[in-house]
């Protein structure tokens, strides 16, 4: 039973890959594999962020709107203010850190419960990102509220973030977003699993009072978790902007739920039964594999959410009902 809990999920994933490879000849190709990674790269990056907050027993609901705010902000910086790609990226990262800081302070200093604080922030950002353009998307040649016509463009350097592909055995195989996902995944994993800071954050999530009495600065780590989440969300937003090439006001609405699903599915990986970085990446991949496979088998688009939900529920039931941790007995 121990083995089932520990490796069951990975075995299931391997089984799915085999099944889809047999059902569709295009599934098991390098490009298909890369496409899977690319399709989940942005949600995967956001999922890394929310995982950090889950580790300290919090929950960042504002990740989706932070990402779309970064999408709008980077567009605004380049198109309306006509500044370079570098400034767009810098402003977005600072914005992400600030959002995380405010979230964190609301939670630790003002004692607002995490879900409520980040929910409020989510609404706040969704509204805020629409005000400068009166609710319209940003593109070159649009007429601003004050009558000016925008002349800035998305710089090629910025667009490269969304379009460029690195050579890796095969030419033009790996897009920037996949590299960013893998690099950030590695960094966040190393931080949480190998450093003392990550260790203390896990301690806070498991027993905050005990961690505090052992001398941990609980407030500082909680704010840090939300800042990590904010910055990672803004990275996701930047990549989304680069991919779209315009400040699309309607994009990114499903980012929150897809990212949270990936992080929660991660609980089932290696029997962790708690938030963990490796699980989050596997969770994001799992969703990608599933959706790619279904698409290749011509399953209708509206079945996708159904499948995602079913996978999530099954993964959680599997983990919690079967493990001795966290269950009623």
């Amino acid at each position: 039973m121990e083995l089932v809990i520990k490796y069951g999920f990975l075995v299931l994933m391997a089984g799915l890959v085999i099944f889809f490879s047999l059902s569709s000849e295009f599934f098991a190709t390098p490009r298909s594999a890369v496409f899977i990674f690319q399709s989940v790269s942005i949600t995967g990056i956001l999922a890394l962020g929310v995982t950090a907050t889950l580790v300290v027993d919090g929950f960042d609901l504002s990740i989706g709107s932070t990402a779309t705010s970064a999408l709008m902000l980077s567009s605004y910086v380049m198109v309306v203010w006509e500044m370079s790609a570098m400034w767009a990226v810098i402003f977005c990262l600072i914005m992400g850190a600030l959002v995380g800081l405010v979230n964190g302070l609301l939670i630790v200093k003002m004692k607002v419960p995490d879900l409520l604080a980040t929910l409020g922030m989510m609404f706040f950002l969704v509204g805020l990102q629409r005000i400068p353009t009166e609710g319209r998307s940003i593109s070159t040649g649009m007429i601003m509220p004050d009558g000016r016509v925008t002349e800035g463009v998305f710089s090629p350097a910025f667009l490269a973030l969304g379009r460029h592909k690195f050579d890796f055995f095969i030419e033009n195989l790996i897009p920037v977003s996949v590299v960013v996902l893998l690099v950030l995944g590695l960094i966040v994993w190393a931080f949480m699993e190998l450093t003392r800071h990550g260790r203390l954050m896990y301690a806070i999530g498991s027993n905050e009072r005990a961690a505090e009495l052992a001398g941990t600065n609980v407030n500082r780590y909680k704010v840090l978790a939300y800042m990590i989440s904010g910055v990672l969300s803004s990275v996701g937003g930047i990549l989304l902007a680069a991919r779209l090439g315009r400040g699309d006001i309607a994009s990114g609405n499903n980012l929150l739920l897809d990212s949270v699903a990936a992080a929660l599915i991660g609980f089932a990986v290696l029997g962790a039964a708690k938030p963990n970085v490796f699980g989050t990446i596997i969770g994001a991949l799992f969703i990608g594999i599933l959706l790619q496979g279904l698409t290749m088998m011509n399953a209708p688009y509206y079945t996708q959410d159904f499948v995602k939900g079913a996978v999530l529920v099954v993964a959680l039931v599997f983990t919690f009902a079967l493990s001795k941790r966290g269950g009623a007995h």
């Binding site: 450093t195 003392r196 301690a203 027993n207 009072r209 005990a210 052992a214 001398g215």
Partner: protein, 503 residues
């Protein structure tokens, strides 16, 4: 026979392998207040929970005026006439509802009907309040009342069921002397009405005022019944704590220089000031009943609370820690009580639990060096005799005694100036207790050690010096050599030092 309201015979209750009640034989006469005394872990709460229907006994019988009484739920117990008023006053009231709703809560919860007839409820509530001398407007929200009035609401609610047995669990722990007096008057009236009252407390002042008889409990059995007047309170305390004759004879070393000096400390309100020196190489046990101030003192030493007045000096420098980080910084460490809530990180293994406060010492540029951790952990596992398969075992797989060894190991892994152990032997088996005690004494040199203990056995086994606390101050100090247990127990029970031969 009808004078015995409740007759308990051979009551047994076990939780898994843990035998909490080992055959309780107890009579509760009607119209009398029976005081029940017992240390933490003696089984008092479990006995109360069986009587009020939360738990079901494994064996034995309880009869209520001759009728068998074995409720399978609190509602059944209440319906049969056994009502409990809990120690935590706020557990017995719903603060957001008004007094009337609270008084009629059981009827609201179990009654039929869909709509609430407010006027009828208020009228009934007013009757109940008057019967008990509760002088409040029943329309007020309970959250507006002080603790003493809330308690009366809980009792009035209990009285609505015309109980045959009323159980009061440490009722005066949150009351002032005046409010307690009002409570005692109420108890006198209930007693006159023929209610049998089970009064759980070990406050000598309470018991001397209100009890008709005292029953002591120890290790799941009744260890003494005291009915002769004047009530033998000291005898009851002794039966409760047990005769602490132990085979261990300790080598009491020469005490070194004082490491931590407490001067004229007033812990709370108007308690008497006391002074205490904790010396290098010395192990001091602080003993006293629940509420005596031991844990408050542990909190003050570790920066969790501030004393009313008085000063502390650590190696000559003023010591007034604002929080635990300040305490740890100057080498004052504490193993907290209630380890499940305050110390154990369930998700971590043994190694991670041990190195928790000092991860910085095992890290290079933030990255944790597993080898360094493993070495320290191995040292603690060996020194304390932690029984486990491997260092990476989940902490949850260890027994209570071994978990506590890990918690003690957490703070013994690094050198300290003062090591405070707050009730380190809660839920710890005797062997683990001996192992921990031995290690504490072995490593005592170079620091001052203070252990807050609940039982005299523990104090005698481990300390060079035994300090007795009661009413938030020190009542006496004894060198742990040819110790006069009666004198110590009398102090624990609250007699002034020197007045051992109380009336």
């Amino acid at each position: 026979m009808q004078n015995t309201a409740v007759k308990i015979q051979g009551l047994t209750k076990a939780f898994g392998a843990n035998n909490v009640l080992r055959g309780i034989d107890l009579d509760l006469p009607k119209g009398q207040v029976t005081a029940l005394m017992g240390a933490n872990g003696a089984g008092k709460s479990t006995l109360v929970k069986v009587l009020c229907g939360v738990h079901t006994a494994n064996a034995g019988t309880v009869s209520l005026y001759g009728e068998p009484f074995m409720p399978s739920s609190p509602a059944e117990a209440i319906a049969a006439g056994v009502v409990t008023v809990h120690q935590s006053i706020n557990d017995g009231v719903v603060p957001d509802l008004d007094v009337a709703s609270n008084l009629m809560l059981d009827e609201l919860a179990n009654g039929r009907g869909f709509f609430i007839n407010k006027r009828k409820i208020r009228a009934k509530a007013r009757e109940l309040a008057e019967a008990i001398g509760l002088d409040v407007d029943v329309r007020h929200e309970v959250s507006e009342l002080g603790l003493a009035d809330r308690q009366l609401v809980a009792i009035a609610r209990a009285m609505a069921h015309k109980p045959k047995l009323l159980i009061l669990d440490e009722p005066t722990s949150s009351l002032s002397a005046k409010e307690a007096a009002r409570l005692f008057e109420l108890i006198d009236r209930l007693r006159a009405q023929g209610v049998a009252i089970l009064y759980i407390s070990h406050r000598s002042s309470d018991i001397k005022r209100i009890a008709d008889r005292i029953v002591s409990m120890r290790d799941g059995k009744i260890s003494g019944v005291f009915e002769d007047t004047p009530l033998d309170y000291e005898g009851a305390v002794k039966a409760m704590l047990g005769r602490a004759i132990s085979e261990i004879k300790l080598d009491i070393p020469e005490a070194g220089a004082p490491v931590l000096r407490l001067e004229n400390m007033v812990l709370q309100g108007d308690s008497a000031p006391f002074s205490l020196d904790l010396c290098d190489g010395e192990v001091v046990a602080i003993t006293g009943l629940v509420g005596s101030g031991k844990s408050l003192l542990a909190d003050v030493l570790y920066g969790q609370a501030r004393q009313e007045s008085g000063a502390m000096q650590l190696k000559g420098a003023a010591y007034a820690p604002q929080n635990q980080a300040a305490a740890i910084k100057v080498g004052v460490f504490r193993t907290p009580k209630d380890r499940a809530t305050n110390a154990v990180i369930q998700d971590f293994d043994i190694t991670k639990n041990i190195t928790l406060p000092f991860t910085a010492r095992h890290s290079v540029s933030g990255f944790i060096m597993r080898k360094s951790e493993r070495t320290t952990t191995q040292r603690m596992v060996t020194d304390l005799g932690i029984i486990c398969q491997h260092q990476s075992d989940d902490i949850g797989s260890l027994s209570g005694g071994n978990q506590q060894k890990v918690m003690v190991g957490r703070w013994m892994a690094e050198a300290s100036n003062v090591l405070v152990l707050d009730e380190p032997f809660q839920g710890v088996d005797i062997q683990a207790r001996r192992d921990i005690g031995a290690k504490i004494r072995e490593t005592a040199k170079g620091r001052a050690t203070v252990v807050m203990v609940a039982e005299m056995d523990e104090a005698v086994e481990i300390a060079d010096r035994i300090v007795v606390m009661a009413e938030h101050t020190i009542k006496g100090e004894h060198r742990n050599e040819n110790i006069d247990l009666n004198a110590v127990l009398a102090q624990v029970a609250g007699a002034e030092s020197g007045q051992v031969n109380a009336d």
